[in-house]
């Protein structure tokens, strides 16, 4: 099953490489990885999506917790949560396709954020499934380039991932 693990990580040089290294060293897989500082400058928040059965996920969280730089982590998929990813897509937009791209973008609540005579750049947010569906819908028109941030997420309700 796919899991979304969010980690509060010491904002230290080398911390990220320890997390990433752990995954390759122990043969765990990383589907997406997303990392940025938090409101507390000493901490980064890192979100990784990975796939594995319960035994593998248990090992992943245990090994992550063992890293000295990992301050706290949560497997968001264990509870209700919000998952978001942002994607920028460049699509061919010539002739009739210009309207087609616009229409499809509207249906997905995506925005066209940059325009040239032949290219639209579309911005879309949502969970990974929605982004995948958008790519599929655009594929026949002609996708030129895709940039995805990787999944970020947060628990629903009062649950917090803080110190």
């Amino acid at each position: 099953m796919r899991h979304i693990i969010s980690i509060l990580l010491e904002n230290e040089p080398g911390a990220l490489s320890r997390v990433v290294g752990l995954f390759s060293q122990r043969n765990f897989n990383i589907e997406t990885l997303n990392v940025a500082p938090t409101e507390d400058p000493s901490l980064s928040r890192l979100t990784v999506t990975t796939v594995g059965d319960d035994r593998v996920i248990e090992q992943i969280t245990k090994h992550l917790n063992k890293l000295i730089d990992v301050v706290k982590l949560v497997d968001l998929t264990e509870g209700n949560h919000i998952e978001r990813e942002l994607m920028l897509v460049k699509v061919k937009a010539l002739g009739a396709a210009r309207d087609e791209v616009k229409r499809t973008a509207d249906i997905f609540r995506a925005q066209i954020v940059d325009v040239t005579p032949s290219v639209y750049t579309v911005q879309i947010t949502g969970d990974a499934g929605k982004l995948d569906a958008f790519i599929q819908a655009m594929a026949p028109i002609g996708i030129l380039e895709v940039a995805r941030t990787g999944v970020s997420g947060i628990a629903r309700g009062d649950k917090l991932l803080t110190l």
Partner: protein, 574 residues
């Protein structure tokens, strides 16, 4: 307030931390530190002849004493030479602090002379690592390094020190930090009481229980408590290779060690058990054999300080995260005043175990006949007698290592010192050196093979310089015996590169360093050679003992089989 340079802080910190001895090798990036060491006399520096030996010596000391071993090396090749020893310590959870010189900060990333990203290189084989970014942080970082190395599940910690951090011209305030806190690091010690109670109830109800204990008992200093618990319950106990000595091996309840080359009775008992109480052991593949056939009728209680060791390879029915000593103490208090519920079943269980024992009695190996080559096993037994079982024993890796573990019996922990997890040839001799320097009154014996010894024999020079009187017992079978054994069993005896052509005349080699060497080729030469070798505890003696090159180590578990599937000799199997 005291102002010190980074280099002086390091020397001073080591003193304040109570470090008496470090092992190292100088070079450009470490020279400020070496100069600081020169100007003090609290910390002794042992100059090895290869950085790998520094790590093994520090490791040997750590295993014998339970305190972190300390290493100092220069950047680049100095640091990379230390990697094997760091990995060796990591695999066996040995506390160690490795101080590495690094090129000056402004050169990092420029492929400067002797620059290596040693933090990157060692990342998968350290518990943690630090890079010093300002001289003023040295005391705190070092304190953290020692704290991390020695607490929780111990392990090696690397500290990378760019040369400008130790410059003599820059001085900062030095205060020895008595305590440190790391917000993300709070090793658990006490186990979950509910789980411990559940485990004890299962133990009391068990019909065919067996304790399976590992290195966690030794590093956790829990062997006295363990012995108490095991004797109260009257259960059989087997240890891992790393756990040897955690329970006195001469005791009737001890089945010896288990696994690939473990004892017949230990492996049989494991296979037939209905309850396995694992403490400070990690169900390593050299123990379990095929996990899908592992102990088919047993429930498993697993106590470990490292949660990631639990249910990693074999699912635990009752997982308990906690320090061995504390959990065992709690178990003892719960057992007090209670008796096992099935004494008849336990009696039957012991009958089976004694049956397995007597099946193999007197059949473990065939002693040599007059005129034949010596058997390695009888040599180990003779050394055991000569040292009354009281020596510190280190080994290298190979057949001799397994024979040493099988035939030298250990009554105490911290005495059998071997590279179990990584299986590092070259470990034994420098490890013995590190122990002998700190335990000058004791006999320190290194069982080695002619293959392994040649990987670290340059340390004879270190022994000469520092007068280190270890006893080296070279079980010379003129071959990479363990490799050869596998080739006999799995490759129709095609001995691809497992024989040692062009062996040196070890006696001459040893004599070149001014030490005594005795060559032994027959059984009647053995006793006098041992007598001579152990006459003076502080004299280095090398025994070059020619043993049967065709001998195999048995029992040996059959690949992909269960615990009880074993070859028992060249002609028998279970």
């Amino acid at each position: 307030m005291e102002l010190l340079s980074g280099a002086d802080m390091i020397a001073r910190f080591l003193k304040d931390e109570g470090v008496e001895r470090i092992y190292g090798y100088p070079g450009g990036a470490a020279l400020h530190i070496y100069d600081a060491l020169f100007r003090q006399d609290s910390v002794q520096h042992i100059l090895v002849r290869h950085e790998q030996a520094a790590t093994h010596a520090a490791d040997g000391y750590a295993r014998a004493s339970g305190k972190p071993g300390v290493v100092l090396v220069t950047s680049g090749p100095g640091a990379t030479n230390a990697v094997t020893g760091i990995a060796t310590a990591y695999m066996d959870s040995i506390p160690m602090v490795v101080l590495c010189g690094q090129v000056a900060s402004h050169l990092i990333g420029e492929d400067a002379f002797q620059e290596t990203d040693i933090v990157g290189v060692t990342r998968p084989v350290v518990k943690h690592s630090f890079s010093i970014r300002h001289p003023s942080e040295i005391p705190e970082v070092l304190k953290k390094a020692f704290y991390l190395a020695a607490t929780g599940r111990p392990g090696p910690v690397v500290v990378d020190i760019p040369k400008d951090m130790t410059a003599p011209t820059e001085r900062y305030e030095y205060v020895y930090p008595k305590k440190v806190k790391i917000r993300s690091y709070n090793p658990v010690t006490r186990g979950h009481s509910g789980q411990i109670k559940k485990a004890v109830d299962m133990m009391l109800k068990a019909r065919r229980p067996v304790f399976y204990t590992g290195g966690g008992i030794v590093t956790g200093r829990a062997s006295e408590a363990l012995t108490d618990l095991v004797q109260r319950l009257g259960f059989p106990i087997t240890t891992t290779l790393m756990g040897i000595g955690g329970y006195p091996q001469g005791d009737r309840q001890s089945l010896g060690w288990l696994g690939m080359h473990g004892s017949y009775e230990a492996n049989m008992a494991m296979h037939h058990a209905d309850l396995i109480v694992a403490i400070g052991a990690r169900f390593d593949d050299r123990v379990t054999n095929n996990t899908s056939k592992f102990c088919p009728t047993a429930k498993i209680v697993h106590v470990d300080i490292d949660p990631s060791s639990i249910s990693k390879t074999v699912r635990a029915d009752v997982p308990i995260v906690g320090a061995a000593g504390s959990v065992i103490d709690e178990m003892i208090s719960l057992v007090q005043g209670r008796e096992p519920a099935n004494p008849e079943a336990l009696g039957e269980w012991w009958k089976s175990i004694d049956g397995w024992r007597s099946e193999r009695e007197g059949k473990l190996y065939e002693p040599s006949k007059p005129g034949e080559a010596l058997k390695p096993q009888e040599v180990i037994e003779a050394v055991y007698r000569a040292t009354r079982g009281e020596a510190f024993v280190t080994t290298d890796v190979g057949q001799h290592q397994m024979f040493a573990a099988q035939y030298y019996k250990f009554a105490k922990p911290n005495r059998f010192i071997t590279s179990g997890g990584l299986g590092t040839m070259g470990f034994g001799f420098p490890a013995a050196m590190g122990i002998k320097l700190s335990y000058p009154q004791d006999d320190v014996v290194c069982f080695t093979g002619e293959g392994s010894f040649q990987m670290m024999m340059q340390e004879l020079s270190t022994c000469k310089q520092f007068d280190v009187g270890v006893k080296i017992v070279n079980l010379n079978n003129q071959s990479l015996g363990m490799v050869r054994q596998w080739q006999d069993l799995n490759y129709k005896s095609r001995h691809a590169h497992s024989y040692m052509e062009s062996l040196p005349d070890f006696a001459k080699l040893i004599e070149a360093y001014g030490f005594t060497a005795i060559k032994v080729t027959t059984i009647d030469e053995l006793a006098p050679a041992l007598e001579r070798a152990f006459a003076d505890t502080n004299e280095l003696v090398f025994l070059d003992i020619y043993v049967d090159p065709f001998e195999h180590v048995y029992p040996m578990q059959v690949p992909l089989g269960s615990m009880r599937d074993m070859l028992l000799s060249k002609t028998e199997r279970t």
